[in-house]
């Protein structure tokens, strides 16, 4: 393989060669520089290939023929190869991106660009300290030069501030180097590393100066105002090179320094890194300029990588995989986002709404954000998993907390930005149409996905991109141009096929959840036939959610469970985001879900004890002291998905504002993922004790409280879909209560609720969606009297509310009957009171739903309303049929799972023989109840019809109105503030306390960000002072430690 020195040689040579060419030959000079960059990338790519496939040992390149202490040597290991490849590729792509500006600027800019790239490669390769200093200075000067490429006038000031800062750094670095040489006698990094003597006598201060200079070059928070100004005002292509290339190079240099410093300096690096990660992310919350936000985000990511470098002693050889994963993901994402910002005129975050017409660019934007936040299937995800597992293994919990908190902040402002870009009204400036700039961006996206695949292959936990469901979801990206009909059919067939494929491998519990999620999902997808056109973006996100659900059920080990959990979260986020006014709610959903996912990650990490291949079954053997904490973390994580009270404020907005056929998916199916998680948790860990408090007892109270609050809030809603959303909170509270009772019938009741709730909630959401589509409004008091015009929807809602309220003939009563048998043996009785009162309240808001929409007075504008579209009514009718069958023969679904549960709770199983279902306390035969009620009902109905056969059919105003004439339909339809008495009596319980609490938390964060970002006054001198102050503070802390 050709020696690595040629990378530097080609770079310098091309720079000088360009100097010789005549000024008019711009294209020629540009061609030469592109060729040089391409050659450099080729060399580094070659080395990557050789080292990856070979034994992977580093190759030293001696210069000047003699051994190191007397000459400079370069090393080309695997890490160096990958980093140089990254730097050269970024340089190449930026050069392509900058074609027009470089043409205008001419040869000198090309030369500076080449020098910048060469110097960055030099930093990575060199093993000599002074040589490192020289390359750093070259990068600084090249940056000073390239900053001026930007059209922004303010870049001048930024460039000068940068040079002032680099002068300070130079002073520190040089003094540090010379004294280190004085102490050890060598300038070679490896040589110095052996001489541990350096650390003992006088050399510590010298090493500190060197180390802090390199760290300052990494733009550490809070002394990095000068860097942020560069990111904000420089040309986006150059900012991309700065954040991707020079940051990676500086990080590798810091890693080499830490080699010398030894283990005593690692905590300092971790401290600075983490402080930077959390601080920068917090400041980013208050940013409105997109490039400055990207600047903050890149500073944060560099801080995170520095923290990971600081943990190299603990991570062992995996640290390259982790640090590399995060670094490469960050580099690609930042470069991509900067390049993307180059296409957009406005600098406001909402200006990115210009992307709305370009699906490919939106896909790029989404991929970059996923790369940054570390969502599956990108490298950041594998890296974050192994990092947290390793840290938990060594018991460094504070670090995990800070990392996850910082990641959550980052996800917060990134997804807020993405949501605003997608949903705010489209900005007028068009997106630049230059094809080569877009090619650069798309190459970055391709590289990102490629890296995801490579990191999957490298990771011991198995490659996510090889999982069949995920591939099926991604295949829909290719199918986008097809029409909805084809895509929908493919989706349904795919889901049913996957269900049949994996059918034998399910145990009875998984079978129920699989049936609800996959067959149910296919059934709800029937409703998607009613939309025309291509519906760009719907099918990939829907299939991503279903893929996540499918993998969740069959997940064996913690990693695949967590990967499935995160992919269903992303899929459902994109689905909810499609609603017209759903942007703020989708954001709160994403933050709550990601917060929950991070808690689950922390829980698994705590339980895994350092082993990344931790199996779910391992949860049972978790040692005593940490078992309750694991249980608590996982339970709270799963409860964010079932919207237990306290974590429920995202649900009403998300489910109400979603599209007609998305609401049933999200409400009927997605909530079950949380329940499945709780099932797995309780099955594995049983009940735990924490400080004497029985945790399942706590869950009991939370379940009861959310049942009451959910139902009570639902009774006072004016918007039909919000009512159903709140009722979902109530029903999930019921299921959680059943689960937390930890006895046989409690779990059976929870399963019954899973099935029941899926059926009638999807049915109700579909019918309300159909009505809202026809009447154009969701406010119930604007509807009324639609029973004659939309009979099928009426039947669906009628059957739905009879089943949901638990009135005998239908399956809701089965759930209530099992509930009563379960609580007879339960030991905690107080929470039951809340459940008793929330039962009848469920009955209230259900009647309100059906009365205000279908009964009462028909409004003028709805006189010609047609029945809901066929494709919405068909799934409803199938659900009605299934509900009736399930009411008659509940054994069909519950018999096998009843036996399965008795593994965990032997006592209290039900007897299924013959017509009646017997438990220890009572008996219930659904068929005979149905027959008796049916016979009585039919006979009385026949008698009434016979007696009234000559009844006069009248219209809506033929009512006894005390001799007066009803004024207008709007004034004679009673629907507004339907349960006024209840509001007067129990209104105090519906105070939005939880919403106020979470709003206060968010406002606190924003206030902090708004206040402390004033630190960056914009004055170059103050930045220099801050630099020196930072050095002094770190030194004091270092010695004080």
């Amino acid at each position: 393989m050709v020696s690595a020195i040629y990378i530097l040689a080609v770079g310098l040579g091309a720079a000088f060669l360009i100097g010789l060419l005549r000024d008019e030959w711009r294209a020629g000079a540009y061609g030469v520089s592109l060729a040089a960059l391409a050659l450099m990338s080729l060399i580094s790519a070659g080395w990557v290939w050789v080292l990856a496939t070979g034994d992977g040992s580093a190759v030293d390149i001696m210069t000047a023929g003699t051994l190191p202490p007397y000459a400079i040597n370069l090393r080309m290991g695997l890490a160096e190869a990958v980093l140089t490849l990254l730097i050269n590729l970024t340089g190449l792509l930026s050069a392509v991106y900058l074609r027009d500006t470089l043409f205008k600027q001419g040869r000198r800019a090309l030369a500076t660009l080449l020098v910048f790239t060469m110097a960055a490669c030099g930093i990575v390769l060199t093993r000599d300290l002074f040589n490192l200093f020289v390359f750093f200075e070259l990068v600084a000067i090249a940056t000073g030069g390239l900053v001026l490429l930007s059209r922004d006038q303010r870049a001048l000031a930024a460039g000068f501030k940068y040079l002032v800062a680099s002068q300070v750094i130079t002073v520190l670095l040089l003094v540090g180097i010379i004294f280190a040489y004085h102490a050890t006698g060598t300038l070679n990094i490896d040589g110095m590393a052996e001489l541990s003597a350096l650390v003992l006598q006088g050399g510590a201060l010298a090493f500190f100066l060197m180390f802090i200079a390199i760290v300052l070059d990494l733009k550490p928070f809070p002394a990095n105002g000068w860097a942020l100004d560069i990111y904000e005002s420089a040309h986006p292509a150059f900012s991309a090179m700065l954040s991707a290339a020079s940051a990676s190079a500086a990080l590798f240099a810091a890693d080499k320094l830490l080699l010398i410093g030894g283990s005593t300096w690692l905590p300092v690096a971790t401290g600075i890194g983490l402080f930077g990660f959390v601080g920068a992310n917090l400041f980013a919350l208050a940013q409105t300029n997109d490039r400055r936000l990207l600047g903050y985000s890149s500073v944060a990511q560099v801080g995170l990588i520095l923290a990971v470098l600081g943990q190299r002693d603990l991570l062992g050889d995996r640290y390259l995989f982790i640090a590399g994963g995060i670094l490469l993901a960050h580099a690609l994402a930042k470069a991509g986002l900067f390049w993307l910002s180059g296409l957009i005129e406005g600098r406001k975050l909402t200006a990115w709404s210009a992307l709305q017409g370009h699906p490919i660019l939106i896909f790029a934007f989404a991929s970059f954000i996923a790369l940054l936040v570390g969502l599956p299937p990108f490298p950041g995800f594998y890296a974050k998993w192994e990092l947290v597992i390793a840290l938990a293994g060594q018991g460094r919990l504070a670090l995990i907390g800070l990392i996850l908190f910082g990641a959550l902040l980052e996800a917060g402002y990134l997804f807020r930005w993405f949501g605003q870009a997608l949903k705010r009204e489209r900005s007028l400036e068009p997106v630049a149409a230059s094809s080569f700039k877009r090619a650069v961006i798309l190459s970055a996206v391709a590289a990102g996905w490629g890296l995801g695949f490579i990191w999957g292959a490298l990771s011991p936990n198995g490659n996510l991109l090889l999982a069949l469901p995920l591939l099926f979801a991604l295949a829909f990206l290719a199918l986008e141009p097809l029409s909805v009909r084809i895509k929908n059919s493919v989706a349904i067939v795919g889901m049913v096929a996957w269900f049949l494929l994996t059918l034998p491998s399910y145990d009875p519990l998984q079978l129920i959840f699989a049936a609800v999620m996959l067959l149910g999902g296919a059934l709800i997808l029937l409703a998607s036939y009613q939309t025309q056109g291509q519906r760009i973006g719907f099918y990939p996100s829907a299939m991503l959610m279903y893929a996540g659900l499918a993998m969740l059920i069959v997940a064996e080990d913690a990693f695949s469970f967590f990967a499935a959990w995160e992919s269903l979260t992303i899929g459902s986020y994109f689905l909810i985001l499609r609603g017209q006014r759903s942007e703020p709610h989708a954001l709160s959903y994403m933050i709550f879900s990601l917060g929950g996912a991070f808690l689950i990650l922390a829980g698994f990490a705590l339980a895994a004890g350092g082993d990344p291949l931790f199996a779910l079954a391992g949860l049972a053997e978790v040692a005593a002291p940490i078992a309750p904490w694991v249980f608590l973390l996982l339970a709270i994580g799963f409860m964010t998905k079932t919207a237990a009270v306290g974590l429920h404020i995202w649900l009403p907005g998300a489910h109400a504002e979603a599209e007609t056929d998305v609401s049933p998916m999200v409400s009927g199916i997605l909530l079950k993922a949380g329940l499945f998680g709780l099932f797995v948790l309780l099955m594995a860990m049983g009940s735990q004790q924490l400080y004497g408090v029985e945790l399942t007892h706590l869950l009991l109270w939370i379940g009861a409280l959310s049942a009451l609050i959910g139902n009570l809030m639902a009774a006072f809603q004016e918007d039909a879909k919000r009512l159903l959303a709140y009722s979902s909170i109530g029903q999930m509270g019921y299921a959680l209560f059943g689960l937390a009772m930890m006895n046989h019938l409690g779990w059976l009741m929870a399963l019954m609720f899973v099935i029941n709730h899926f059926i009638y909630k999807s049915m109700l959401f579909l019918s309300v969606g159909g009505v809202a589509k026809r009447t154009g409004t969701r406010d119930m008091y604007r509807m009324g009297g639609l029973i004659t015009l939309m009979p099928l929807s009426f039947i669906a809602v009628l059957i739905g509310i009879i089943a949901m309220s638990g009135v005998p003939p239908l399956s809701g009563f089965g759930g209530r009957w099992i509930f009563y048998n379960a609580i007879l043996t339960a030991e905690y009785r107080l929470p039951m009171i809340l459940i008793f009162i929330s039962g009848p309240i469920a009955f209230l808001y259900l009647f309100r739903l059906i009365h205000t929409i279908f009964l009462g007075q028909l409004k003028d504008e709805h006189r010609r309303v047609k029945e809901a579209p066929f494709w919405l009514v068909l799934p409803q009718m199938i659900f009605v049929a299934f509900l009736l069958v399930f009411a008659l023969v509940p054994g069909l679904a519950l018999r096998r799972v009843d036996a399965y549960i008795s593994q965990f709770h032997p006592s209290g199983a039900l007897g299924w023989e013959g017509l009646t279902i017997t438990s220890d306390f009572g008996y219930w035969s659904p068929i005979s109840i149905m027959i008796v009620v049916g016979v009585i009902f039919a006979s009385l109905f026949a008698w009434l019809v016979f007696v009234n056969r000559k009844a006069q059919k009248v219209k809506q105003f033929n009512i006894v109105f005390a001799g007066e004439r009803p004024f207008r339909p709007e004034t004679t339809h009673f629907a507004w503030n339907f349960f006024a008495p209840y509001r007067k009596a129990l209104g105090f319980m519906t105070e939005p306390l939880v919403e106020r609490f979470w709003a206060a938390v968010v406002d606190l964060l924003h206030a902090c960000a708004e206040l402390f970002r004033r630190l960056y006054t914009g004055n170059g001198q103050t930045y220099a002072i801050q630099l020196l102050a930072f050095v002094v503070v770190v030194y004091l802390l270092r010695t004080g430690l």
Binding site: F130, E137, G144, F160, L163, V164, V171, I178, S233, Q1021
Partner: protein, 118 residues
């Protein structure tokens, strides 16, 4: 006696940094930085000094054979050469910036260029 060079070097560095951090005028800052750079160079050379030895010039007076015992450490002096060249490069770039900054806002006061903040 031997540490005079070293102390003057450090004094120069401190004066340079002090000058850079307190003067508002950009040109004065640049001059202060060059002073700091010379201070650093002085320190670098002073580090290599060994008591009672002569300059590392191998000529008739100091033949190659006993050079190792009679000359001071030559490496810092080599480093100083590169450092000086780099210092010149950076100072030139800063002066160009100063010219451009003055051209854009007609003032050399560093605190006038504060539109990139927060």
């Amino acid at each position: 006696m031997a540490y005079i060079a070293m102390t003057t070097g450090f004094v120069l560095i401190l004066i340079g940094l002090y000058g850079a951090l307190t003067n508002r005028n950009i040109l004065r800052m640049i001059v202060a930085f060059t002073v700091a750079n010379t201070g650093v160079n002085l320190v670098m050379v002073a580090v290599g000094y060994l008591h009672g030895r002569t300059a590392p010039i191998l000529d008739a007076a100091v033949p190659v054979a006993e050079a190792a015992a009679r000359i001071i450490d030559p490496v810092p002096q080599a480093l100083v050469l590169t450092a000086i060249v780099i210092g010149v490069g950076v100072t030139a770039l800063m002066l160009a910036y100063a010219y451009k900054l003055y051209e854009s806002k007609r003032t050399l006061d560093i605190s006038a260029f504060k539109d990139l903040k927060w």
